[in-house]
């Protein structure tokens, strides 16, 4: 079974400051990480492979990481290798610079095809920066695979998957045939730390091949975006609720009274 995990490298949000008044994002520390959704996807795939404490997988399964991005995304792929992936490919070309979601989907789908297709594609529910949440569903559409989104538990057999996803107030467990695309909820798959020796090997021994537009046989027309970004803006400020001021005792009494009024907490003794 071949499991392919498309991942995205993002700027570490811990190194950023957002100034709403200036409508600007400041980079205090420029460090790139695997986005949390992508990292959870790597973890979910590796558990299917049967490695780590929570593995429920079987031998003979391979996990391949893909990332479309600038040359520095090589680091994200090597980290994925260190975590336990069997192979990794970087999809990088200056012609990808203006890619929108439709172009990104095309590039990823082409890479999947070049790898001979996948039995299962696991990716994050949404990226850690733009948060569009579209790559999984679009990839399923492009490849003609089944899809299950927002998955928090996943079991894979040879002929299909059983995935648990959020459903209203609770959860639903659904079955899907293979091949399939699954997007995972980041909070459901706590990523493992990479093994020390694999970190060294990932940089010193293993290759991360780079596939450019020519390698993927994608011409100018295929890489023309449908959307172009004109400007970035901040969402409107959140409406804050009531602010209580005063000495601690009074504030506590006022908060309790307000919560009772809203029927969020019950009456004293009741």
């Amino acid at each position: 079974m071949r499991i392919i995990v498309p991942i995205k490298q993002i700027l570490d949000p811990d190194g950023l400051t957002f100034r709403r008044d200036k409508e600007r994002m400041f980079i205090n520390r420029e460090e790139y990480i695997i986005g949390p959704g992508s990292k959870a996807a790597v973890e979910a795939a590796l558990r299917l492979k049967g490695e780590g404490d929570e593995g429920s997988g079987e031998p003979g399964r391979t996990v391949v990481a893909l990332s479309m991005g600038e040359a520095r995304a090589d680091d994200a792929l090597r980290e994925a290798l260190a975590m336990g992936c069997d192979a990794a490919y970087l999809l990088s070309d200056s012609a990808f610079a203006y890619a929108d979601l439709s172009v990104t989907t095309r590039v990823l789908a082409e890479a999947v095809a070049r790898l001979g297709g996948a039995d299962l594609i696991v990716t994050g529910r949404e990226s850690g920066d733009t948060g569009a949440g579209q790559i999984g569903p679009r990839l399923a559409q492009a490849l003609g695979y089944a899809q299950v989104t927002d998955v928090c538990a996943l079991v894979a057999g040879e002929d299909g998957i059983e995935a648990t996803r959020r459903w209203g107030e609770g959860y639903a467990t659904v079955k899907a045939p293979l091949p399939a695309v699954v997007t995972v909820a980041p909070e459901a798959f706590e990523p493992r730390l990479p093994h020390g020796a694999r970190i060294m090997s990932a940089y010193r021994e293993w290759d991360v091949p780079v596939w450019d537009a020519d390698a993927l046989e994608l011409g100018e027309a295929a890489l023309a975006p449908l959307l172009t970004k004109r400007r970035e803006s901040f969402p409107p400020p959140l409406e804050v609720g009531e602010v209580f001021r005063g000495d601690p005792e009074t504030v506590a009494e006022d908060v309790v009274a307000a919560l009772r009024q809203q029927k969020i907490i019950g009456q004293a003794g009741g």
Partner: protein
Amino acid sequence: MDFSFPKEYQLFRRMARDFCQNVVKPRAKAIDRDHTVPHDVIREAAKLGLLGVPFPQKYGGMGAGETGYCILAEELGRVCSSTATVIGAHIGIAAMAIHLDGTEEQKQKYLVPLAQGTAIGSFGLTEAQAGSDAAAIKTTAVRDGDHYVLNGAKVFITNGDIAEIMTVMAVTDPSLGAYGGITAFIVETDTPGFSIGTLENKMGIRGSSTAETVFEDVRVPKENVLGGFGAGFLTFMKTLDVGRASLGAATLGGAQAAMEASIKWAKAREQFGVPIATKQSVHFMIADMAVEIEALRSLIYRTAWLIDTGQPHILEAAACKLFGSETAHRCIDRAMQVHGALGYSRDYEIERGWRDQRITEIYEGTNEIQRLVVAANLFRPHGVRISS
């Protein structure tokens, strides 16, 4: 000249920091209070390959050399000196002696389980009357057929009561002295005649165990002679030379943590209506910490580079231990001053750091011995021989 860390080391530091912050740090206070070794933390470290950081991958190690090991020691030193000591004695001296001087068979049999963390190691040099004067040891090893029979006792042995494998220095020919008369052995601690004596009740690093180990007719196969017969003193001194760089790295982590805590507290603590971070007296203390830490960091990683590239490093490694422990002393002391009475409270990390720091000026060669090592290396080319 390029002072940046290669990318594998950058990723390794992120992994080590994540492990230290999320697994090691939460246990630091309790293991100090309860005087217990965090076996669960050590097992988790082993799973990530952290008990074999400097050793080649073919012996179950991580293959990250002294540079990688210093990164681990620094990150451990930031959060828990006890855990740093347990892992430091295991890697830096116990397994290191086998790595440096073991035969291929010894490495397969002993270095592999140590590097993988399926066995814990200890290093047996110090005796009641022999510490700084290492050549004054009294433990003996007498040949009996295919075995050597060991008798004596080692004291202040880190991991002494938890180790499965111990490297031990013993006298094989009292007439020959340090060079020729002392041999190193690898001892499996389940050998009959090996027992644990007194456990030390220490001021600091209380989450590490320090034990007396007793040898009563302990029979060690002759294949377990480590390094050349009669060359045990050299094996042990060579091991300590390397170990000193990583000891310095752990003190670097401790000093850095003390400075960061001081900055954070100075911003939060208000006196005379303003945060004490606005006071010049506090600026000067923190600036002095920062400068010394920066100098120490350069010294540590340059020395690690000397070791990894096979260059002479004895003077520099002694300097790492000496300057590192004394820098950490000054930094944690200033941090306590910045924190005021809160720093003196058992409830906060500064007090533990202050107690934990003190031993670093004593163990693995007192700072007085380090000064002798430095001086000896300076005077030797001038034909002046310095002995203690």
